[in-house]
Structures are given as structure tokens and as C-alpha cells.
Amino acid sequence: MKRYIAKRLLLIIPMLIGISFIMFTVMHLAPGDTASIKYGMNPEVSGSARANFDKMYDLDKPVLVQYGLWVKRLISLDFGSSLIDDQAVMAKITSRLPATLLLQIISLFIIFLIAVPIGVISAVKRNSFFDRIMTIFVFIGYATPSFWLALLLILFFGFKLGWLPISGMSPWYTAYLDSFDRTKDLIAHLVLPVVATAFGSLAALSRYSRSSVIEVMNENYVLTARAKGLSSSRIVTAHILKNALLSIITIMGLSLPALISGSFIFETIFAWPGMGRLGYEAIMNYDYPVVMGVGVIATFLTLIGIFLSDIAYAFVDPRIRVGGEK
């Protein structure tokens, strides 16, 4: 088990290198090779930034050498500084990270807590009224353009009904509130972004949970459990759920990249002061150091998430935990 964890953890490093290399190459795809053309696209780039940029990327050297040097600096978490305002990239990201993590983790919890029960109930009561309704919900949820949903949410709950705030996380007035009201205000600001973020994954995961539970229900050991005279609740909780959870955990891990991808859209729509919006703005401004920084950190977070799901999997599955494969 320890070896398993260590190996999984070590795997993160080559993945990170591979992904950052792809991004690095993509940046060099931008038309023109020299820094001046890149600046030409954005008049906001200041003189000192240009100097920084040249230094940061050693643009006179071959791409591979440039990449090597960049990785060397990355080890000390030095992503250079922004071309727009000269701030250190790392500082910019760390100031935005908590907002993103808050939104993502809450969404993840909500997805898990709602989708799995929906899937299990639909599977156990297959073809019931509940199952049919949920199937329709799932198919629609899966096909809905999420940004469109976000717009509709803003239209109804923001403009028409005026129930919920539609943008930002903590406006200026929160400084004057006590902690209880501040939390209340934060929750109000979270509702719409969380709903928009969670909606698509919710549909996907409940569908997936349903089919994994059905698959497990067809296994011979479930027949054994029934032949033993166990009650149906015992069969579901002790035999079906734990086995179905194995594949659900895997898919949760694999859905993280989609969730992070969503953050670039939703943080922009809801003006959420997180890393996703930072990344989007950086791309639009050709702010390469920030783009690279956001890309690497986003990937790192995804990899950590997948690592955690691997650990959870190993924890549930004795074939990995105990070993001794026959």
C-alpha cells in the first residue's frame, strides 16, 4: 500500500513535465518568433516587462533550452512576473486560489452527495417513476450548454426575481458586516456559480452511478447475497454500494479536469475572483508568464485530485490494499 501511494505520487512529476511542455510548445506556436511581435499585439506591455520577458524565456535560445531553463526556475516556484502589471505570477495565483478552491470543492461535494443517491435509487428502482424522471433530467442536464444555463440563472434569479447576487464573491460592503452576515452574504454569492458549475457533472455522475450499480447488481455475488436470505437494505449497503463506489470514485477523479475547465467559463460569467478568470484574462492579454503559471497550477490541482481518488480507490479495494493478486 505504501509503495502504491509512493508510486502514484511520483507519477505526478512526469505528468506535470509533459503537460507544461505541451503548453510551452503551444506558446511558441503564436505567430512570429520574437518577443517584439508578441508585444506588438498588446500595447499595454511595459518596457520593464519586456526586459523581464526576455530574461524569463531566454528567447534567443532554442526552444528546448528555453524549456529547460523554465523548468529549472519552476522548481523554486518562480513563474516570473506578469507582463501587464509586473506582479509576481505566483503571488497573483495564490491570491486567487482560495476563491477557486472554495467554489470547486463545494461543487464537488454537492455533486457527490446528490448524484450518487440519485444513481443508486434509480438503479435499485429501475423503470420506476423516479427513475424515468431522473433519466430525463440527466439527458437534458448532460446536453445543456452550461454557460447558457448560467445566463438563464442570472436572468431569473438575478434580474427577474432579484433573489440572489449575480456577480463577485465579497463586495466592498462585506468589510462592514459581522462574521455571521458575512458568511450569509458569501453563501448567497456562491449559490448561482455552484449550481452552474455542478449541473453538468451532476447529470453525468448520476447516470454513471446508475449504470455502475446496475452492473454490480448483475454480479454473481449479489445473487449469493440474496440466496443467503439477507434483507434488501443489507444487500444494497454492504454488497452493492461498496463495489459500485469503486468505479464511481474513478470517474470522480477523471471528471476533475472538466470541472477545472468549467472554472474558466463560470468565473468569467459570475465575475468570480478566482484563478480561472485570471487565466482567461491572461490569455486574452497574451500575458504568457501568467498563462503558464495558471496552466501548471491548474494541472497540478487536477493531478492531486486524481491522486486522492486513486488513494480512495485503493482504500476501498482490498485487491490493491492487501495485494496478493492471484
Binding site: K7, R319, G323, E325
Partner: protein, 245 residues
């Protein structure tokens, strides 16, 4: 003696893959120094329990796998019939294409292929000849095994490896296939390597029998010797385990 197959001290180890990357230190010794010879026109029966390495021998002799060490000399063409007729026939090919493929890849022309395919299907006693344009799932297990035998024999090989050819069939079907194999051997002067876990079937089919355990042949002798006067402890144990009628 005119040995058509001569296998000397072949070995095949598989690196045991652990759950994720990296091989474990202890390889599985699937075949661990096996030697035997088969005379022309005879049947060599290879019997053993699961994991004994008998199927690996089939793959080594037919060239699907390459031995790590040892010598094999095989005089003549060789073909194979597998255990499971549900998996040994390509579900998306017609019977004509399945049986005729080995002729096709050798560049035999269309009429000749058709002719040979029809002849061999007659020979394995496929009852209706409308089967040519049908697909494997339209046949029963026994019929599929006949088709598999036809495929193996269409190029007129000298040697056929039969890897558990009746193990997944019902006993009443099994009898027909075993009889057919005996008939074909006589008509076409075939040499068989007959692999099975069932000592009774091996006794019925073989001239010489080898008993395998954990990658090694523990006893090898004529059929009469093995069944009436077994020398090895394990052979005796196996024989005593068979329920008697």
C-alpha cells in the same frame, strides 16, 4: 522411429506484472524444461490441471509464443484447434471466409478456394452446405467446433494441435467430435498433439501420454503404461480423483 515433432528442454517464463508498472522478481515458470517427441501419425496426449502450462506448450509449438530456451524441430505444416468455439471464430466473417482465409492469404484462386472449402466442410460432416454464407453465431457449439476443425485442415497440415477441443462442449456433442477427430486422423494421416485436463478423454484419444504439473512433464509413457501402471505419485493422485462410473 520417425519423429515429426521433437521438443527438447524448452522453457518459457512470464514476468509477473504487478498491479502497476514494474515487473516482480519471481517470474511464472509456465513451461520449465519440457521435452517430448511425437511420431508421425500418432497422438500425443498432454494432460494436466489448470496452470500446469499445457496451453503454453500449444502456443510454443504453433509459434504463437517463442520459447526462452530449448530446441524444437517440427517437420511439416502445423495448425491448431482451440477450446472455445465461441471465441475461436471471428464473429464478423462468414464461414466461407473463415475456412478459406489461409488459402486466400497463400494466393490460391477463388474457384479453388471454394472447391476446397466445400470439400473440407463435407469431410467434417457439416450437415447442410447452406452454411457457407452464414456467420458463426448461427451455429451450435458442436457445429462451430467442426468449422474450426475444417479451418485447421483446409491447408492439409501434417500436424494439428488440439487445445482442449471438447472441454466446452456437452458430453453428447463431445463424443461426435472425438470420433470425427479419430476418423480424420486415419483418413489424412494426421499427427495430433492433444491437450486436455480430462484424463478419460486423453486415454480415449492418445497413443502416448505426458502428465504435466507446474510447467514440467512429470511422467511420460505409452497409454497402457500410464493408465494401468502409473509410476509417478501425481499421476496416481490424478487417476484416483476421477469419479468412476
Amino acid at each position: 522411429m520417425n519423429a515429426i515433432i521433437e521438443v527438447t528442454d524448452i522453457k518459457k517464463y512470464f514476468a509477473k506484472k504487478s498491479f502497476f508498472y514494474g515487473a516482480e522478481k519471481m517470474p511464472v515458470k509456465a513451461v520449465d524444461g519440457v521435452s517430448f517427441t511425437i511420431d508421425k501419425g500418432k497422438t500425443f496426449g498432454l494432460v494436466g490441471e489448470s496452470g500446469s502450462g499445457k496451453s503454453t506448450i500449444a502456443k510454443l509449438v504453433t509459434g504463437i509464443l517463442v520459447p526462452d530456451s530449448g530446441k524444437m524441430s517440427i517437420e511439416g505444416d502445423i495448425d491448431i484447434v482451440f477450446q472455445d468455439p465461441f471465441s475461436s471464430l471471428n464473429p464478423r466473417m462468414t464461414i466461407r471466409d473463415i475456412v478459406g482465409e489461409s488459402l486466400f492469404v497463400k494466393g490460391v484462386n477463388r474457384e479453388e478456394i471454394e472447391d476446397k472449402v466445400v470439400k473440407i466442410l463435407h469431410r467434417v460432416k457439416m450437415k447442410n452446405m447452406e452454411c457457407l454464407d452464414k456467420y458463426p453465431h448461427q451455429f451450435s457449439g458442436g457445429e462451430r467446433q467442426r468449422i474450426a476443425i475444417a479451418r485447421a485442415l483446409v491447408t492439409q497440415p501434417d500436424i494439428v494441435v488440439l487445445d482442449e477441443p471438447v472441454s466446452s462442449l456437452d458430453v453428447s456433442i463431445q463424443a461426435g467430435i472425438l470420433n470425427l477427430l479419430k476418423d480424420l486422423q486415419e483418413e489424412l494421416a494426421l499427427t495430433y498433439l492433444f491437450i486436455s485436463h480430462d484424463l478419460r478423454v486423453v486415454e480415449f484419444m492418445s497413443d502416448v501420454v505426458g502428465v504435466m504439473k507446474s510447467g514440467k512433464i512429470v511422467e511420460i509413457a505409452s497409454r497402457q503404461e500410464i493408465y494401468s501402471n502409473p509410476q509417478n505419485e501425481y499421476t496416481r493422485h490424478l487417476l484416483s480423483s476421477i469419479p468412476k462410473i
